[in-house]
Symmetry: C2
């Protein structure tokens, strides 16, 4: 196989498009709004024209944080804190392990990690039932 045989699309996919630095500026703006008024945001990476090289560039610039959340519910979701606290790289997988969506969230803690009061109420009722069975 010669170089001429390699489809052009592969060359494009591995190149930086210049979109990642724009995204980095948007993330900084989201962080400012989080600090100024507690506003959270999520950027849907699959809705943007990013090449694998763009994503790798972005991921490397954001770096790795200390927290990794794994959530098991009809496929695994991972919520990874980046090196910039308040910025989370969120990946949702289906039951077969394939990535179905990917977001960059700006939040003190992603909403998905918080227990909903209705669910806490159900948990309490379950616990009260357990306790009454002990008597």
């Amino acid at each position: 196989m010669s170089l001429a045989d390699i489809p052009v699309i592969q060359g494009v996919a591995s190149s930086l498009t210049g979109n990642a630095p724009i995204l980095l500026r948007e993330i900084a703006e989201h962080l400012r709004r989080l600090l100024d008024c507690g506003e959270t945001a999520a950027i849907d990476l699959q809705a943007l024209p990013l090449t694998p090289a763009d994503r790798a560039w972005l991921r490397e610039r954001l770096g790795n944080g200390e927290i990794r959340v794994a959530l098991e519910a009809e496929g695994q979701s991972t919520l990874e804190e980046t090196g910039c606290q308040g910025v989370w790289w969120v990946t949702h997988h289906n039951e077969k392990g394939a990535v179905v969506s990917e977001f960059i969230e700006t939040a003190f803690v992603p909403e998905l990690v918080k227990a909903h009061p209705d669910d806490v109420q159900s948990g309490l009722e379950h616990l009260e039932l357990l306790i009454s069975d002990l008597c």
Copy 2:
């Protein structure tokens, strides 16, 4: 080795003391306060006279939830949601992997998982520096 050679302490350690059901009632009370006024609480398991059997009983009753948080900072901490949402089983390890403390926390989300505004501010400054280097 005969049965007579087994130290008595092993027999005690594997028995239920009756303390775990008391703890279960306390957890239910903590959940009520969480729902009523947003008050969080943490029970230090190492400060209580619990046998391994007591812990296993408690863990089994609380069940497993969908969320597991791993935090890497001078040893790993794990924050596991139990089957009762709002109740988290928190284990801190030292750098060698030994358990140094263990808590049952009641919170919508444990405080440790939340990014602190000062750290988010530092992250933003780091990001702004990165962006200015791109120009």
